[in-house]
Amino acid sequence: MKILRFFLIVIIFYTSNALKADELDKRNNITKNLRCLVCQGQSIYDSDSEFANSLKILVDRKIDEGLTDAEIYEYFKNKYGEWILYDPKLNKNTYILWFMPLLIFLLGGAIIFKKLKKKHN
């Protein structure tokens, strides 16, 4: 019985460690995707400013509350606007950014296709 209890404690200890590591990954991932608004060209993860440090604490708290990544991004977007997110969402201001590469790719493809067809003929 004692051995069983010992193993149980060991198992709980290790699994909780793994959980904590997951949380850390999640936290790093989120803070890397948030822009430090008072710094120049740094993410929250990179920055050590007062603003960034407070934000990190809040991200931790939100993770502890069990919020998903999307919910956490949404939360900060509500507070500070779209600019805080590094990954721009598709909207009327960013659609050129999203569709331009696709457009160029298709056009280039069409040109190559035409050329190859010409060669065949």
Partner: protein, 172 residues
């Protein structure tokens, strides 16, 4: 006909790229936060500055009254500059100035108020800066004009005479 497609598409692509870059030139590179926001004030719990008792946001802000929430700190130099304006604003008594003590040493903060006066009706503490984030603040000093539990306007940076006049106009 086939020979024309290539130069034509190249011109179009360069045209689009030129258009995007040209538009980009017009955009301001400096990020300017939205200051005229109608947003509900956040709900938070904190500690009262002098007594250390727990306070709730709902007990601080009442409906149908103007409030100016001022984020300040004793280590913040611009806060020292704006302090006389807060003292003046307080004389009118039409507005309740609420202080948020941001990441401060309480002893230093008390000395700051002793030295320069206390314009605040109530002060609560934000030790780790998370309440400021809840408010959508960037740092110190920053002020929020509040009416009916809604943020009417946000003032980032220290207040000056011009802004105080604007506040006086808004609350009339």
């Amino acid at each position: 006909m086939k020979n024309k497609i290539l130069p034509f598409s190249v011109i179009i692509i360069f045209g689009i790229i030129f258009f995007i870059f040209y538009k980009g030139l017009e955009d301001s590179k400096i990020y300017s936060p939205d200051v005229n926001i109608k947003k509900e004030i956040p709900v938070f719990n904190s500690k009262e500055f002098f007594s250390g008792e727990n306070v709730k946001s709902s007990s601080i802000f009442e409906l149908d009254k103007f409030y100016l929430l001022n984020i300040w700190s004793s280590w913040c130099v611009p806060c020292r500059q704006e302090h006389p304006f807060l003292m003046n604003l307080n004389l009118d008594n039409e507005i309740n100035i609420i202080g948020m003590n941001y990441k401060d040493n309480l002893k230093n903060a008390e000395n700051f108020l002793k030295e320069l006066g206390n314009p605040y009706k109530e002060i609560f503490i934000d030790l780790d800066g998370t309440i400021a984030i809840e408010w959508g603040a960037y740092g110190v000093p920053e002020s929020f004009l509040i009416y009916d539990n809604e943020i009417i306007k946000k003032y980032i940076g220290p207040l000056n005479q011009e802004l105080v006049n604007e506040i006086n106009l808004l609350i009339k």
